[in-house]
């Protein structure tokens, strides 16, 4: 197999650039979940492909690599069947030579079932944790019928005496799973900046022939930590690490630049092109890989059942998960984690991400709240919501939950019933197939337009009308 080469993550802002970039790159990385819509119309979570966006992506004249962002392999929750099904259906059109996901966890189990953690959290780096991750990786590879690689994750916690070093953990997982490694150099550098292992020591511990792919990215300083924020150009220190190690990787297939859509515009086309030029120089510095060797794990696999997961791992996930989402976690482990500044950072980042999803899904409602109540009060409102509801991955689900919470508060704010009613009705139609009638006492287009401009709709004309919002009904068969 020929190595896919250098490229960047696919984000909508970069689509015009990608259409005309020619030989500036040869591969785009696809985060499948960003092309999906979540539905609970049938009761259980189901995912639907945004076909228009997917077709645009497939038409790009580059290799495609599937990099999943919704089925992390480091925890006790195995791959979700609905996600696996949809990802599998996309793979023939993507032609991805391997798939990857994160060596992290993003959910924990409590008495009521699985709860979202709102973030990729660091897994338990113990011998049991190695075996759990290996089983997840083997299971995912078998279900996708594709070679699989795990991404070396960012970890904002301090190193712990009761865990394996980062390098030993990654190396043992790769060996036990018989899989590839997606080496995220920015993650490792961020970990070193925040007091974890030195990047050189981590990489020196790895089986270099298993490194199929590298990620580079930019970040920022925040709350006394270096953040893996995918917010701009790659730092010089990361380029230097890449220059040192890439020539020593005999089986490297791809080098990918990551940037979030919200930062891609600021970085600009020239900024992205500069990163790719730097990457091309690094790519040329290595001994050309004529025949890339990637393979699915040898041997069988057995799916992880919840009752098989060691208690210590469940406790780790439940404790760190609860602390990260700002919930109480009464245990001895919680007492030791509470002292770690990384936990406070997780809590902050999770709440900020949740606020962001609400601002996306309920933009006009959030604008109205900010204009009427002010930032501090809106943040208190979101914190009160977060204290009683676990995070969701999709904006539609987080916004649905927040809209229900907000309706229960019975806030006396002019226009709120109409604006929240309309946005919640759109969400309920898209998310649950529900039909809702919303009563307006003002011109709805004018109310929304004012809020789009960041202004209160104080002078909108009175108008009594109703808007009915529903999911479209399929024509009867035959």
């Amino acid at each position: 197999m020929r190595p896919p080469g250098i490229g960047c993550v696919f984000v909508p802002t970069l689509l015009p650039f990608l259409r005309e970039a020619g030989n500036a790159l040869s591969v785009v990385e696809v985060e499948p979940q960003t092309l999906w819509e979540l539905s609970r119309a049938g009761g259980e979570p189901d995912y639907r492909l945004n076909r228009r966006r997917f077709d645009e992506l497939v038409a790009l004249p580059y290799y495609k690599l599937a990099h999943s962002v919704g089925m992390p392999v480091g925890g006790s929750r195995g791959p979700e069947a609905a996600q696996v099904r949809l990802l599998r259906s996309m793979l023939p059109l993507l032609g991805s030579p391997w798939a990857s996901d994160h060596l992290s966890f993003n959910a924990f189990l409590d008495d009521e079932g699985w709860k979202g953690a709102g973030f990729f959290l660091p897994p338990r780096q113990t011998a049991d944790g190695v075996q759990l991750a290996a089983r997840n990786l083997r299971s995912l590879a078998a279900e996708l019928e594709l070679p699989i690689a795990f991404e070396t994750g960012v970890n904002y916690l301090r190193p712990r005496r009761d865990e394996l070093s980062d390098g030993a953990y990654f190396s043992e997982v790769a060996a036990a799973a018989d899989c590839g490694i997606l080496l995220d150099l920015h993650n490792l550098w961020v970990n070193e900046c925040n007091g974890r292992c030195k990047v050189d020591d981590v990489i020196a511990a790895l089986p270099l022939e298993r490194i199929w792919e590298i990620h580079v990215a930019g970040g920022t300083d925040y709350m006394g930590h270096r953040l893996d924020a995918h917010s701009g150009a790659v730092p010089d220190a990361v380029w230097e690490l890449a220059a040192t190690w890439i020539p020593q990787m005999p089986n490297l297939g791809a080098l990918i630049f990551e940037v979030l859509d919200e930062h891609a515009e600021r970085l600009g086309t020239e900024g992205v092109r500069n990163q790719l030029e730097q990457m091309r120089r690094l790519w040329m510095s290595r001994e050309p890989t004529k025949n890339l060797l990637v393979s699915s794990p040898a041997g069988g696999f057995d799916q992880v059942a919840s009752q098989d997961v060691p208690r210590a791992i469940k406790d780790w996930e439940a404790t760190l998960g609860r602390l990260a989402i700002g919930w109480e976690a009464p245990s001895d482990l919680a007492a030791t984690l509470q002292d770690d500044p990384g936990v406070g950072l997780f809590r902050h980042l999770v709440l900020e991400a949740r606020s962001g999803l609400i601002a996306i899904g309920l933009r006009h409602t959030t604008t109205l709240l900010l204009l009427t109540l002010g930032s501090a009060a809106v943040e208190r409102l979101i914190s009160a919501f977060a204290a009683e509801t676990a995070p969701e991955l999709y904006a539609v689900a987080e916004s649905d939950a927040f809209a229900s919470f907000l309706a229960r508060q019975a806030l006396r704010i002019p226009f709120l019933d109409e604006v929240l009613g309309l946005e919640h009705a759109l969400i309920r139609a898209a998310f649950c197939g529900q039909t809702t009638t919303v009563a307006f006492t003002h011109d709805p287009a004018e109310v929304l337009s004012c809020l789009e401009r960041g202004r209160l709709p104080d002078e909108c004309a009175s108008l009594c009308t109703q808007v009915v919002i529903s999911a479209a009904i399929a024509a009867p068969a035959g």
Partner: protein
Amino acid sequence: MSDPMPGIVNVYVSKEVSFDLPKMNKITADILGRLGCPQCHSGRILHFRTLEDFVVNAKTLEVRELGMDR
């Protein structure tokens, strides 16, 4: 009853509607187009801050304290 068609939402308004329907359609389409999954990240997500800055810069109104009826 048939299942809802994937991803399609209908918005019905009364016949005697007098408001700007194309504008309304565009706004509702924009709302529906933003409901997906965030990207892979391990840093800050700034959508709320961006909206907050936008509103703070645009507003001319006095900010009031939160009053919840529970």
